[in-house]
Amino acid sequence: MSASPLIEIKDLRIRFHGDDGRITHAVDSVDLSVAHGATLGLVGESGCGKSVTSLAIMGLLPKQSAEITGAIRFDGFDLLHTPDQTLRDLRGNRLAMIFQEPMTSLNPSFTIGDQIIETILRHRGGSRKSARQRAIELLRRVHIPSPERRIDEYPHKLSGGQRQRVMIAMALACDPRLLIADEPTTALDVTLQAQILELMRELKAASGAAIILITHDLGVVAEVCDEVAVMYAGEIVERAPVDELFASPQHPYTVGLLGSIPRLDHRAEQLATIEGMVPNMAQPPAGCRFAARCPFVLETCTKAPPPLIEISPGHLSRCLRAPLELLVS
């Protein structure tokens, strides 16, 4: 890890003010950092705040309803206090994002070439002709066959995997320093998923960009990430290097998640289940947010929010009972 991280998030809190006056605590005291060229996996289930965090980095949350505090420092900028104009210059340039559904994020009435060229012209300027050359080059890099012909096609002519590759080509158009990928392979078949993951690894090696990969799929995390942050109910509950997290998880939620995935190596009669439901984030519980579903819960867990403590170098857990191996030995 280099001395100063590429992006550093400090005490990020995001609250949504609903029309009915209700306040939802979407993200609470999130601290994260990603080094140059590293891949961070942000893992959690629907509504845990992982996508909201990434939208906050991109400056894409609605100003009227989202109240954001804390700090996001990226490449010398304080993103939460950056003028819109500067943010627009950063997005698609040094900061890029790909979304889960490539069909809804491409404009159906423009050719894929137009859309990539627009990005290049907006950020890099130059002639349309040279931008077109670069677009063809990008399509070739993401393995679109006969790119000089495909560049003039409309998104509906492409398959799902190809569209996702066009999205990646567009995100890479200006050599971003940070790429945020929100469930980039979720809508794809396993063979295409393998192609896209391979491509992301390839591109990372070639360009040295850092990646924040948002996913609920622990299998994908194990394949491409260096470090993992697990989110639950708006908080980071565990952070660890990827090997550590899978070998020795230190938060009960992570344990529950790992236990609930069917394994290839042994056939369990029953999978682990995490009983109960995510707390209502309009009124988050006073203590640990996972307490109501935790098999290791103590009375003290429900009294005050547990801090994120370092169990071993680089391995943090928001659990009073960690290290967990003491519970079963």
Binding site: E45, S46, S159, G160, G161, Q162, D189, V190, T191, Q193, A194, Q195, L197, E198, H216, D217, L218, G219, V220, V221, A222, E223, V242, F246, A247, P249, P252, V255, G256, L257, L258, G259, S260, I261, P262, R263, L264, D265, H266, R267, A268, E269, Q270, L271, A272, T273, I274, E275, G276, M277, P279, N280, A282, A292, P295, F296, L324, E325, L327, V328
Partner: protein, 366 residues
């Protein structure tokens, strides 16, 4: 006798018509599919989008009419049934869909949703229907008092339980599960998988399980049929297939399963090229455009699905010549002893499964 026996099923959809309505192009969605399924067992259909797995499941229920082939359910030929007999058959075979948000009528309460099939098939006298609804709800792990609520008041996992309850209401022998857990979060997914397993043991149900998630398939299926472009390319017992897949397509598919273990040992086969269109499938073997082992014969001659002595069937000209596939499926190594014990704290017995997702409905402050 097998519960379900499917032979030579064919379904071509018309993709394009001329001005006068003559068919110009066909999508060969299902092209000569045969399999059988015993009572109380699970057959999984796997393959990429567009391989025809969902079409097969709809043909089996006669929700769409096949162009050729036979479907026998307990020996009866389904395709010769008249409307009345078909209605009776629908009692015996049900379907659960992927999206629990779209498959429940938002204007009906859970009680109404579950009473409808009882009334339709006249299974239970009106006076006893409420009691029966309560019983079914308990069976899928929901509290009977929830019958007055509407679908939107439930979470995704609970809605899928309601969809399962509706399928169970008519006491079927076969349930087709079309991607039943794909739209659910990981922890909810395991609850539904456990529930399906438990119901199968208790009620002797047979499942046709359509899924693209191969780890889930390994967990739930007894038999697996791998489909590519409307045809079965390999069919075997689940354990045999996952131990050593034979068809090059199955090898590629299984080698690509992401496993929750960093640096897992794997020899991934990344298929090059795009999936050919079912509108115009390649001649010969339909996989030959992407197959790393292709020879000339594959381009012209379509291989037949041939079973060996133990019932492991493969449709490939080169089955006997291909390299060993023993290490194709990635290994996730299982859990360490400590992790095993920690996970065990989460795994309840059947009781815990039944109680799952019930207690905390209504997190609303009211």
């Amino acid at each position: 006798m097998a519960l379900l026996e499917v032979k030579g099923l064919v379904k071509h959809f018309v993709a394009e018509r001329s001005l006068f309505g003559r068919a110009l192009a066909h999508v060969k969605a299902v092209d000569g599919v045969s399999f059988s399924l015993d009572a109380g067992k699970t057959l999984a259909l796997v393959g990429e989008s567009g391989c025809g797995k969902s079409t097969v499941s709809r043909l089996v229920l006669r929700l769409i009419e096949p162009d050729a082939g036979t479907v026998r359910f307990e020996g009866r030929d389904l395709l010769s049934l008249d409307t009345e007999a078909l209605r009776k058959f629908r009692r015996e075979a049900q379907i659960i869909f992927q999206d629990p948000y779209a498959s429940l009528n938002p204007r009906m309460t859970v009680g109404q949703i579950l009473t409808e099939p009882l009334a339709l098939h006249d299974l239970v006298p009106p006076a006893e229907r409420r009691e029966r609804v309560a019983e079914i709800l308990r069976l899928v792990g929901l509290e009977p008092r929830l019958e007055r609520r509407y679908p939107h008041e439930f979470s995704g996992g609970q809605r899928q339980r309601i969809a399962i309850a509706r399928a169970l209401a008519v006491e079927p022998k076969l349930i087709i599960c079309d991607e039943p857990v794909s739209a659910l979060d990981v922890s909810i997914r395991s609850q539904i998988l456990n529930l399906l397993r438990e119901l199968q043991d208790r009620l002797g149900l047979a499942y046709i399980f359509v899924s693209h998630d191969l780890a889930v398939v390994k967990h739930i299926a007894d038999h697996v049929a791998v489909m590519n472009l409307g045809q079965i390319v390999e069919a075997a017992e689940a354990d045999a297939l996952f131990a050593a897949p034979r068809h090059p397509y199955s090898r590629a598919l299984l080698s690509a399963i992401p496993v929750p273990k960093p640096r897992a040992k794997r020899s991934r086969i990344v298929l090059q090229g795009e999936i050919p269109s079912a509108l115009n499938p390649p001649a010969g073997c339909r996989f030959h455009t992407r197959c790393p082992y292709v020879i000339d014969r594959c381009r012209s001659e379509m291989p037949q699905l041939v079973a060996d002595g133990i019932g492991h069937a493969t449709a490939c000209h080169r089955t006997s010549e291909l390299p060993s596939s023993a290490a194709i499926v990635p290994s996730d190594g299982g859990f360490s002893p400590v992790l095993e014990k920690l996970v065990a704290a989460f795994s309840g017995g059947p009781e815990a499964v039944r109680a799952g997702g019930v207690s905390s409905l209504g997190t609303d402050p009211a």
